[in-house]
Amino acid sequence: MTHARRPAVLALEDGIVFVGNSFGRIGETSGEVVFNTALCGYQEVLTDPSYRGQIVTMTYPHIGNYGINHEDVESARPQVAGFVVREISTAASSWRASGELHAYLDEAGIVGIAEIDTRKLTRHIRSRGACRGVISALDLDPVSLVKKAQSAAAMIGADLAREVTCAEPYRYEPARDAGAAKAGVERPFHVVAYDLGMKRNILRLLTDAGCTVTVVPATTPAAEALALEPEGIFLSNGPGDPEACDYAVEASRGLIASGRPVFGICLGHQILGLACGGKTFKLKYGHRGGNHPVKNVATGQVEITAQNHGFAVDMSLFEDRAYVLTHVNLNDGTVEGFRHRDLPVFSVQYHPEASPGPHDSHYLFRDFTAAMAERRAVGAAGPLLQAGA
């Protein structure tokens, strides 16, 4: 109750301070403060490596209601730099729950703050833009904390993909039945996936679409990836500034040139944009949530999408006629997807793998396998890697 609570402070670099209660690990953390408007799916958010370096504020006030479970994770551990909620649940109600959020975060060493005016914080970020901040349950002095916030690492120029990527290449072995049979594919497509901070659901969906996946580190050069003889290449989501990932941009050029289908999501999309000669820029406060309308330019259809990005590809990419805008954000008109006019290269800024979020855009995984099937049909593929080889 009241008396057992321990205070915590959230301070922003511009001097704004919020006083609330500590939850999760009693400690101190810093990062870029952002907000996510999803109503549920907090466990997926926490474990999404794209949130590396960020203190995530959930705008929905009740968080933790259904506890945590072993299934709804997007990586091995919570990734956020810190967590801000209005109210952390004291009960975990779900037949799948294996524990409470509070304890889960404590174990993972994630520092959180609750009982603050999260709407005020969100409005502040909206008008000022995403900014650096510090949460502390150890140091409650606003002046000192604001100073710490000002010296926290900036997001612009941050190469965080390198931090979250896998150390070594590995084959993704799904626990359940491989997806090839499910997808009605005779022979699975071999995909090399660049792990820039990849969410697990991407691997699940690639498998469900009939792929076998070899995951490689973000820094893998194109030649090494191509040596694995993939039928398609996937560039994953991930944290940080795309411009800092020059190694991946460089690799992408080689991958595109290989003529193999290339599919990118989020950071992968931004890196492809850069590789294609485009520019990226930092959005004022980003898109994070599960309700953003994106129009598929070709069909006119609107998809409700899951989003999590702070940077975006600039429209100037399309000054080069080789590239076609395929998806556009209906809220602010920013680029949500593009493809190469002739090559089987396409990418989206949003998260078709959802998790959390709507499933409206799962078709993109089928588009990817369709491109690989087409290439296979015309016999352009080199010697194929057999499943399990």
Binding site: T2, C40, S89, R96, P356
Partner: protein
């Protein structure tokens, strides 16, 4: 895909009178749809029998028909209007059913009219459980096991599949009427039999019980390009087994992971596609097994609904408006979000607050009815509350109910009954849940007994726990924590042993004050341009009050019997008029069903409980020039004096004048002073006093507690023994206020006068003559405007008394006076210096919006300046008929009395009295038969009076049957009549006859104590079997006139309000002659 250019004119079908399960949410949705279509330049015609709606205000549509919602009438309107399309999806199940009937009859095809919003097939699949089940099977979705049955034997067979408990759902009934849950075979037989009887197609669904499962609803929309969005998810606090209309519900869903939620969303998308709702909104209900997560689809409504109104208010996403635009061809991404102005409607709203809806019941009105909640909806209204947490919203909602609890508490709970109350849900269950938590019952135990999710129990536990810390003096920290949890000042005062005023003072001293946050559809991701606000205890306030001239209008809170849509209508009109006068208007209300809580109605909307604390907080923030309390019924009126004492300027009639009219002693003195007769009366605070007063004024007496609404706890008492019983109950009902005792004027004629005054002048809007005699609550009486057989000298007396009262009370705004004429003498029964239930009715009839006129008076514009100087007149008959919820309350007697029981009303219009009455009755669902068998049974007193009625029926070809006494009397007067047994005399008796559908009309005036059971059985069965049952001689006489008129000229003439009120010029230009179509 922009607007479909082939649609240039649309007919919108309304939902008719307010009934349980179909209330003013359909005025909200209909009004939105009509406004949206009009704004697109579409010619809109509209039909709705309910005159108390905003949508039937003549300025909203090009042609407004206040006519019965029957296929014949609709066909006549379609013949006249020849619209390109009909939109049936904003008028509830009533409108959908009508559309299906018209479609079956080939009317649309014949006239070349399209049905938009929902196809006939979609309506059928949505409504017909068999088709729905098949559709779900096709898309691989799970539904509860079930079998249809058309006979009791088939039902018994079905039970072998489903097992007990089993749910029985009759096909095609409104709001689940006649359904139920059977826990044993006896209950099963009873419920199945009733369900088979009530279903228009004599079919019931026997279903596997999913009682206790988690219950969810998704409000979804789809456009013709197959774009799909979920507007809102709703989780029911009360799990499966309690109708969602009777459940506490919460938005958004609280206890679903994203994985489960997305499965539900995918299912909803598949369902709306499969059912074939091409454009518009649907409500889809799901159940989830809390132990395994098994998801089953319960039902879908291919239209806007009560839940969609709630979802619109909960999110700021106007479903009905957007549904109307989608129906004429727009796509979601072509429609702008009004609140952000920069983003499209093709998105899914997100909330950064919690919305709680709590139903309000009226069981106190139906004492014999069981308050047990089940699959049949019984609540008459609801309150919605917004808070940053569930706890805050729940406690705000509870105090918004105005049931005297100020949140949790304020009620005596019997700890010995906790188990029973948890197991058998009734309106008090939530209070007992909290009590059990206080006493340390485990969450698992309570969950097992109630099915309520443990997350909700944990939330209430926190409220219960904090309560323990609130008993002493409050420090700033604890006070703030309590306020953040939603504790009201009143509750804190009760817990800490101080007064509400003291708590308020301490709170302000310690700086614990609310802030206001905006409902913006997007959790602050984008800027909001709409001041739609709720209070909470946080840091930042977004109210941003302007420095414009502004007024605040207090709404009427949750609908209840006696205070419903009519008052919301007046509040809206008040807001419109003040806005037209250049004021900024601020609405405060907590009823999600209403037009007043549309963010579009006033400049600013505060979605707050109507308690002193909450209202005063808004006033302190906004500092309006004045507060309008006379439009919202008793709810704001009760706040008049407290607000006045707090220094708040009350606009219009002064609080003192209100008190003068409400305080019987003061009022009585005033009438004496003015020389206006009133029934002998007195007040009493004890039984002894009551006996003395009753003896003095003479029996029968009318008794009631002071400050009543809708005749609550009002009774006519004929003898001292009854008085004793009444006083014991009434005093408990209202401890602070005395009992009022009036001599009851037997066999008097009652009249209702609505007037508007500006301090200088009183203009009478209309004098309504009740068709029933005095003694029946004015809200339950049929009434006619103008009066039809009141001598002019009495009318003059009435006008004179009204004027003098209005001037003497200094009324500025609306007033309502009730008169009775007995033995050639005019008495004043009561004066209400506020809007009355009949204001919208009279406004529709006269074409003069009285509430607006009143608001302008309050804004400083005299009646003379407004050009309103003469009493208003009408050129034809406008008859008001009430609609009753008896079918929902098996066991309750339908006998009318001084306690109001009706939920809604309709209007019948004609130049002929009989036709107007027939139309009113038809619109109220009581079709007047023009031939057949009439059963007559009246008390001795009424025998002479009923003779001409019976003779007229006989003359028009009705066969007469009567019970022994009445039959003998008729025979003696030479009227052929068949004698039939009373229920206790032998068989077949009259009820058998009703059940075999061999009676078409019943005239049954109360026979008194002795045959109470008999009368009750007759009336109950009349309701169940849909036989018109008249319980007063005057209503019977009016019916005879109606039958005569129907036989002579039929009832399908239709005329729009615009034609009725058109100036003479326009009348000559347009063809305004009513079309007469022969009755089918």
């Amino acid at each position: 895909m922009p607007r479909d250019p082939s649609i240039q004119s649309v007919l919108v079908i309304g939902s008719g009178p307010i009934v349980i399960g179909q209330a003013c949410e359909f005025d909200y949705s209909g009004t939105q749809a009509v406004k949206a279509l009009r704004a697109e330049g579409i010619r809109v015609s509209l039909v709705n029998s309910n005159p108390a709606t905003i949508m039937t205000d003549p300025e909203y549509a090009d042609r407004t028909y206040v006519e019965p919602l029957t296929p014949e009438v609709l066909e006549a309107i379609l013949e006249r209007e020849r619209p390109d399309a009909v939109l049936p999806t904003v008028g509830g199940q009533t409108a959908l059913n009508l559309a299906v009937t018209l479609s079956e009859r080939g009317v649309f095809e014949r006239l070349g009219i399209r049905l938009i919003g929902a196809s006939r097939r979609a309506v059928e699949v949505g409504e017909d459980r068999r088709l729905f089940k098949e559709a779900m099977a096709r898309i691989g979705l799970d539904v509860p096991q079930s079998r249809f049955a058309r006979t009791l034997d088939e039902a018994r067979e079905a039970l072998l599949v489903t097992g007990l408990p089993a749910v029985i759902r009759p096909s095609f009934t409104l709001g689940g009427t006649g359904g139920g849950i059977a826990y044993n075979e006896e209950e099963f037989e009873e419920t199945a039999t009733r369900g088979l009887d009530l279903s228009p197609v004599h079919e019931v669904l026997i279903e596997e019980s999913v009682i206790g499962w988690k219950e969810y609803e998704l409000e979804v929309m789809r456009d013709r390009a197959d774009n799909f969005v979920v507007v809102c998810s709703i989780e029911n606090f009360d799990p499966m087994g309690i109708h969602t209309g009777d459940s506490v519900t919460v938005a958004p869903a609280q206890t679903l992971t994203d994985r489960e939620y997305q499965v539900m969303r995918d299912a909803a998308r598949a369902i709306i596609r499969e059912v074939g709702v091409e454009t518009g909104g649907s409500n889809i209900q799901f159940a989830v097994d809390p132990a395994t997560g098994r998801l089953v689809v319960i039902e879908m409504n291919p239209r806007v609904s009560r839940s969609s109104a709630l979802a619109s208010k909960a999110t700021g996403f106007p479903i009905a408006k957007i549904a109307a635009l989608l129906a004429i061809g727009y796509r979601l991404d072509e429609i702008r979000n009004d609140i952000t102005r920069v983003t499209p409607a093709s998105f899914e709203p997100v909330l950064d607050y919690v919305v709680v809806k709590i139903p309000r019941w009226a069981f106190e009105k139906f004492r014999d009815a069981s308050p047990r909640l089940g699959t049949q909806m019984k609540s008459v209204g609801e309150v919605m509350a917004i808070g940053r947490t569930f706890k805050e919203a729940l406690q705000k909602g509870l105090r918004g109910l105005e049931t005297g609890s100020g949140g949790f508490g304020g009620r005596e709970l019997d700890d010995a009954r906790i188990r029973e109350k948890l197991l058998t849900p009734d309106p008090d269950r939530i209070l007992y849940v909290k009590r059990a938590l206080e006493l340390g019952w485990t969450h698992e135990e309570i969950h097992r007994m109630t099915g309520i999710d443990t997350w909700f129990l944990d939330q209430i536990q926190q409220i219960a726990d904090l309560k323990e810390h609130l008993t002493g003096p409050l420090d700033a920290g604890t006070l703030r924590e309590a306020k953040r949890m939603g504790f009201s000042d009143g509750r804190l005062a009760a817990l800490s042993g101080s007064t509400e005023a003291e708590v308020r003072a301490i709170r302000k001293k310690l700086g614990v004050e609310p802030v206001y946050k905006r409902v913006d559809t997007c959790a602050a991701e984008f800027e909001s341009h709409t001041p739609y606000l709720y209070s909470t205890y946080e840091e930042e306030c977004e109210a941003a009050p302007t420095d414009r001239r502004k007024v605040m209008i207090l709404g009427s809170g949750p609908n209840r019997i006696g205070q419903g849509i009519e008052f919301d209508y007046c509040c809206c009109h008040g807001s419109f008029a003040f806005r037209e006068e250049g004021f900024e208007t601020i609405m405060v209300n907590c009823n999600p069903e209403t037009v007043s809580t549309d963010y579009d109605t006033s400049d600013r909307l505060y979605f707050e409980p109507l308690t002193f604390e909450d209202v005063m907080n808004v006033i302190e923030r906004e500092k309006p020039e004045g507060v309008v309390i006379q439009f919202g019924g008793q709810t704001p009126l009760r706040l008049a004096l407290p607000l006045h004492r707090a220094g708040v300027p009350i606009l219009g009639t002064s609080p003192d004048a209100i008190d003068l009219a409400e305080d019987r002693r003061r009022f009585s003195t005033l009438l004496d002073e003015l020389g206006i007769p009133q029934p002998e009366s007195g007040t009493a605070t004890s039984l002894e006093e009551a006996k003395e007063v009753a003896a003095r004024v003479g029996y029968p007496v009318l008794v009631r507690p002071s400050y009543v609404l809708g005749g609550r706890a009002m009774a006519i008492v004929y003898a001292e023994a009854h008085l004793e019983q009444y006083v014991r109950e009434a005093v408990r009902t209202s401890p602070e206020h005395p009992i009022l005792i009036d001599r009851f004027l037997e066999h008097a004629q009652e009249l209702d006068v609505d007037a508007v005054a500006d301090g200088e002048r009183v203009v009478i809007g209309g004098i309504l003559q009740h068709i029933e005699e005095a003694g029946i609550h004015s809200g339950d009486s049929c009434a006619v405007l103008p009066t039809f057989d009141v001598p002019e000298r009495h009318l003059e007396t009435i006008r004179d008394a009204t004027r003098r009262l209005g001037l003497r009370l200094g009324v500025r705004g609306l007033m309502n006076v009730q008169f009775a004429i007995q033995r050639d003498r005019v008495y004043v029964l009561e004066v209400n210096p506020r809007a009355s239930r009949t204001v919208p009715f009279i406004s529709k009839a006269t074409g003069v919006p009285l509430a607006k006129v009143a608001a302008r008076v309050m804004a400083g514009r005299s009646l003379a300046e407004q050009g309103i100087t003469e009493d208003l007149t009408v050129d034809r008959f406008f008859i008001k008929a009430p609609v009753f919820p008896f079918l929902k309350f098996p066991g309750a007697d339908i006998l009318l009395g001084p306690e109001m029981k009706s939920t809604g009303e309709v209007m019948g219009i004609s130049e002929n009295f009989g036709i107007a009455f027939a139309k009113a009755m038809s619109a109220a669902g009581s079709e007047i038969p023009t031939s057949g068998t009439a059963f007559v049974s009246v008390n001795d007193h009424d025998k002479e009076a009923v003779l001409p009625i019976a003779a007229a029926l006989h003359e028009m070809g009705f066969a007469l049957i009567a019970t022994r006494g009445t039959a003998a009397f008729f025979e003696g007067r030479g009227l052929p009549c068949e004698m039939i047994y009373k229920v206790n005399e032998g068989r077949p008796h009259v009820v058998d006859r009703i059940k075999s559908r061999a009676i078409d009309l019943i005239v049954n005036t109360p026979l008194g104590e002795a045959s109470f059971y008999d009368d009750g059985a007759i009336r109950k069965n009349a309701i169940l079997y849909g036989v018109l049952c008249l319980t007063t001689i005057t209503a019977a006489a009016a019916t005879v006139e109606a039958i005569r008129a129907l036989r002579e000229r039929g009832a399908s003439e239709v005329v729009s309000l615009q034609e009725i009120h058109a100036p003479a010029v326009e009348r000559s230009r347009e063809d305004a002659s009513p079309v007469v179509v022969s009755q089918r």
